[in-house]
Point group: C2
Chain length 668, copies 2
């Protein structure tokens, strides 16, 4: 196979100097999301570690630094990176002490003086002549002196003289030049001659801590009256708050609180015929009393809402509102801005549909209409309105049915003014679309957790959430149930099933939530095979008796207390699964550095709500720094019991009628 | 934890329209190397498959295409991408029928007509009123007609009339509108209103096929005389070619052929004192007869070289030259261009060193000297000179000791003029530096293969080469030995060890090579524990007797013939390892589509050169489309023997004294 012969044209005078020739290669800077297109996420107080591959030809010593700009700062700051032997990998970090967008990148250069110093030492040890080497050192010291402050300049010039003093033996001068004082001077004052920067600036978005660690409670304020059948008010909802606070929740999330549409109103159990007294679905937003910036008069006034928000704050809780961008047929926007909707050839406005299904109580907005700017601004202003009323967290309804571009824009607009605002994405859709919404800026996201019930499903899914690239940007909020999802596992497993799912949600993830009624074990579906509740609160007022003896309130209060007391449960990527010889018992470890020590929790959960199960669990002794042969004590934070364990394999038995799980703190 | 309250500033009139709002997200376009910073590699004749995640909100049908520009073309071409159900992943491809740099990217848009048509069908099936839908279809058809050619415009207008004909029942008009003729017209003429392009153009570099599939033979032309002690010539080397061609090699690689320096010349076995008659190391380039563009007069003239190259071409082989950018103390450049070297404070030129070691026969160039442009151009012109003399392949000596920027530049300069040139990187250094050189443009690379001898090492390393991201850009050339590397496995294993390593190199990779003397089983190191040869050809002329009875020539000829006859051995990423119950026997499969069928090779190699080993190997029946229970015949291409196998587990016994391997072709 002789190669093809081509006539050669010589163009020896092409200007090589006009191109850019980096002396070093900086690659694989981490963390990094989609080539820097999106920000990675952290929370306030985290220390941020950046690493990079830094490559150069030859054997010179290199130096590198991470460079960053804090939110609102004009100046860059830097910190030295350290080299991990023989890996070409460098790392360095800085503390994230402010919320908002931090920019970071990496610089590297050749450490000429360090290289010279290392080689000089080897030559001295080998007894070689170093008379030229000391003169080369003098040249470098002289160069450094040019950019030095007065004192340093004087010191460096002294070194130049010393190195050039031919009355002294070269090896003696060289030995002197190994002085750490000279090294320090040179490290500070010798400018790099090949400073190379990574070709991108990356962004880490820093949220306040509840974006990663919070317990959510969803409740319908209209169900908070104490009289069955009577529509609750914000005042009723305010009276419900102390119990929720006592249970240890951080966020109280309300479905839409706006005026509810009349036209095509849904009746109980999603029936198409509603009676006048039926309250309608709160997601059919808008009527003659207003739209997304009004409150349902049946709940009270905006002042009542403000009082409710303040009451929550006094209890150290915050209120999350629903941001559901759709309108009932009676929403004021349909008359004021028909151009923001889809207009059909007969001039009518198009209702929602998923052919052949029709949703005639809901009108979607046309985000790409001619007046896109007006519509988008109005949607943003809804958020700004509620922010003005003390709301800093929004649960966003079905974001995957509105343009990705809109979310990136509106979250950016809000964060520019209020970097403390938290957005929860309620997108139950295909994995890549859920991930993309998180990349675009959602602080946290609903997950597939309700549908992950077997040990294999839980291990695989939680490992993906905490150890795949998702860990950098997707914060899963594990809800045990929602008004739309009552899983078969809960329908069939009785109270033990509820305890299992509570325990899993609250310990597998620092972010979790329950929807009102969960604590009472409500488990009746609207019909066999459905995940909808019978008499769903979406269409009816449901007044509950919280004093029921079977209530899970004590369990919830206990686990939320444990979460607040243990740093290991406040982090996400510190989860690891370990062998349990009986697969029905899931065994995992949450580990964290704690104030002055370490916080290791060994958690075993019996996933079988119907039968006692026993197993041998395998404790990762090395990782936990536990002795291979000496006994150690584990303390069950749920019951207070203490067990003496030894070695890796230890016995666990869990009877769901008594206790579905151990949350074992390793005592040191 | 009440959120902090911040004063809200409303700026409702921010211009959203001035930003860019892509309607779709195009992500994870593959193949792709380091965010498109570097090209992926293919060879002529490959078909190139591109895939991407394409995401949009809602439920609209999407459409996508791959778009590419062939080398030298100004225009882009496109091909439709197809959707893989429920994965959000699309793929499409095009044939690579030209060498050089191909650019490619991905476009996507909403398929409005397809969406409309799908929904219309569902509504018709549900018996719903579709009178507005047909009018909406008419609007789309009208829009399409505006951009259509005359005939299509006429046809589309006819459809508009049909859809609007209120004398006909709407469902009848809708049924008519499902006509495939209308679909075809709309697919061709309805312009996308939200065409979104991936935000980068990517590059695939296409080499001629020997960049991926070739057998290399390294020889020192000065050793090709038939009289011991007499320095060989190009004429002698020419006489050596027919044997090498008969053995089935494609590339004959020569260490440097340039004048050899006298000063500090190395003697036998790398001794510092050479006798006048010692030939010196060919890597000490340059003397009074010239430098990198001259030939050693002892080898002949440039015309002799040209004849030698032509002789190789006539035998369907090509000559690869060594590109070693360093100079002997006698190289003309030291006098003509001292500014291209490192000048010491006393005005002397700095020789190579790795303190405390000194290499006084070699002077490195200063690639970042003041006259960088002159030096780099001169280095490029060395390549262009030899290209003019029929050379299209260069083995580059120690590229990791010259700047990365230089390699990217010089390979680009050469490829701009001669895209058929192949560069082999001889960098034995840390993994990331080897990978980086491949990314910068080297067509192929030496590997760690010589040091991978156990089954685990081979499986792990070859899996990385063929199934990690390296597979996109790093083509490993598996040399069994080099003048610098005689591995202990060969030193101790006798001829069976040589057979094992030959078999592995030639079947694990489409690119492999041997260094002259391998076929004679030369295995004596310069001293115990060294990988250097005794009487290394680097410092001495070595005349060999190719007619030795123990020669591996028949083995080499056989395996090279098999390689040429079997497509499966000409590809790289088609390698998979499978279970062998005795770990001493390595078992792997190479599979390829062949002309009108498939080419599956099952390869078992006994890695123990001292003992017979037996095992049960596990054939991946599913992957090979073999029956679970019926017998099938495998044909040993090395011996001609045929075996009838059945099911997955089959027996293999290999006695290294008889046969170290089976290369079994599955007969169909």
């Amino acid at each position: 196979m002789p190669p093809q012969r081509t006539a050669t044209k010589r163009t020896t005078k092409r200007a090589v100097a006009t191109r850019v020739f980096p002396h070093l290669a900086i690659e694989c800077v981490a963390p990094q999301l989609d080539c820097g297109r999106f920000a990675v996420k952290r929370v306030l107080g985290d220390s941020f570690e950046v690493s990079a591959d830094i490559l150069k030809d030859g054997h010179d010593q290199l130096a590198a630094r991470v460079r960053w700009r804090a939110p609102g700062d004009a100046d860059w700051r830097t910190a030295a990176m350290v080299y991990e032997n023989d890996t070409d990998r460098w790392s360095g970090g800085f503390p994230l002490d402010r919320i908002g967008a931090w920019r970071y990148t990496v610089d590297a250069w050749t450490d000429h003086f360090g290289t010279w110093r290392g080689e000089l030492r080897k030559k001295l040890e080998a007894g070689q002549d170093v008379s030229l080497e000391v003169l080369e050192g003098a040249i470098m010291a002289e160069r450094a002196s040019r950019h030095a402050t007065a004192d340093a300049r004087k010191a460096l010039r002294q070194w130049v003289a010393t190195l050039r003093d031919i009355t002294v033996d070269a090896s003696q001068r060289a030995t002197a030049a190994l002085d750490l004082a000279l090294l320090a001077l040179m490290e500070e004052h010798l400018l790099p001659d090949d400073l190379t920067s990574y070709d991108r600036e990356l962004v880490v978005w820093v949220d306040r801590e509840p974006a990663r660690f919070a317990a959510w409670y969803e409740m319908f304020p209209r169900s908070q009256s104490t009289v069955p059948g009577v529509h609750g008010t914000f005042a009723d909802a305010e009276r419900a708050l102390p119990r929720i606070a006592r249970l240890g929740f951080d966020v109280v999330y309300l479905p839409p609180i706006h005026p509810v549409g009349h036209t095509n109103k849904k009746g109980p159990n999603n029936s198409l015929e509603a009676r006048p007294e039926d309250p309608g679905s709160p997601w059919a937003i808008g009527n003659e009393f207003g739209g997304h910036t009004a409150v349902d008069p049946r709940l009270g006034t905006i002042e009542d809402f403000d009082r409710f928000v303040q009451a929550a704050h006094r209890l150290n809780m915050e209120i999350a509102l629903d941001y559901a961008l759709q309108c009932s047929p009676d929403h004021p926007w349909l008359k004021e801005h028909p151009e923001w909707f889809f207009i059909r050839p007969d001039g009518s406005i198009k209702y929602a549909e998923n052919p052949p299904k029709k949703y005639q109580d809901i009108y979607p907005m046309n985000f790409w209409c001619e007046d896109r700017e007006g519509l988008w601004n109005a949607c943003r202003d809804i958020l700004l309105f509620w922010i003005d009323h003390g709301v800093r967290t929004f649960r966003v309804d079905n974001p995957h049915t509105k343009p990705f571009a809109f979310w990136e824009w509106v979250i950016g607009e809000v964060h520019e003014r209020h970097p403390d605002v938290i957005f929860l994405s309620e997108a139950f859709t295909r994995p890549k679309r859920m991930k993309h919404l998180a990349k675009l800026g959602f602080s946290e996201s609903y997950t597939y957790f309700t549908w992950r019930n077997t040990p294999g499903e839980l291990r695989e899914y939680l490992t993906e959430l905490t150890h795949s690239p998702m860990a950098e940007y997707f914060r899963g909020n594990l809800f045990t149930n929602t008004p739309d999802i009552l899983h078969e596992y809960l329908q069939r497993g009785g109270m033990p099933a509820f305890r299992v799912r509570l325990l899993l949600a609250a310990t597998l993830s620092p972010l979790y939530g329950i929807y009102s009624g969960f604590e009472l074990g409500e488990n009746v579906p609207v019909r066999e095979g459905s995940e909808e509740y019978l008499h769903s609160e979406k269409y009816e007022v449901r007044v509950r008796d919280w004093s029921a003896p079977e209530s899970l309130d004590p369990d919830i209060e206990r686990i939320n207390t444990i979460r607040r007391e243990h740093r290991a449960l406040q982090l996400s990527t510190n989860l690891s699964f370990h062998l349990s010889e009986n697969d029905q018992i899931l065994f995992y470890v949450k580990s964290a550095p704690d104030f002055g020590g370490r916080d290791d929790l060994l958690i075993a959960v019996n996933l079988d709500p119907a039968h006692a199960q026993e197993t041998m669990v395998h404790v990762p002794l090395d990782r936990l720094d536990l002795p291979a042969d000496a006994p150690y004590v584990v303390h069950d934070l749920l019951t207070g019991a203490r067990y003496t364990w030894r070695g890796s394999r230890n016995y666990v038995r869990l009877d769901p009628g008594v206790q579905v799980a151990h949350v074992l703190h390793v005592e040191r």
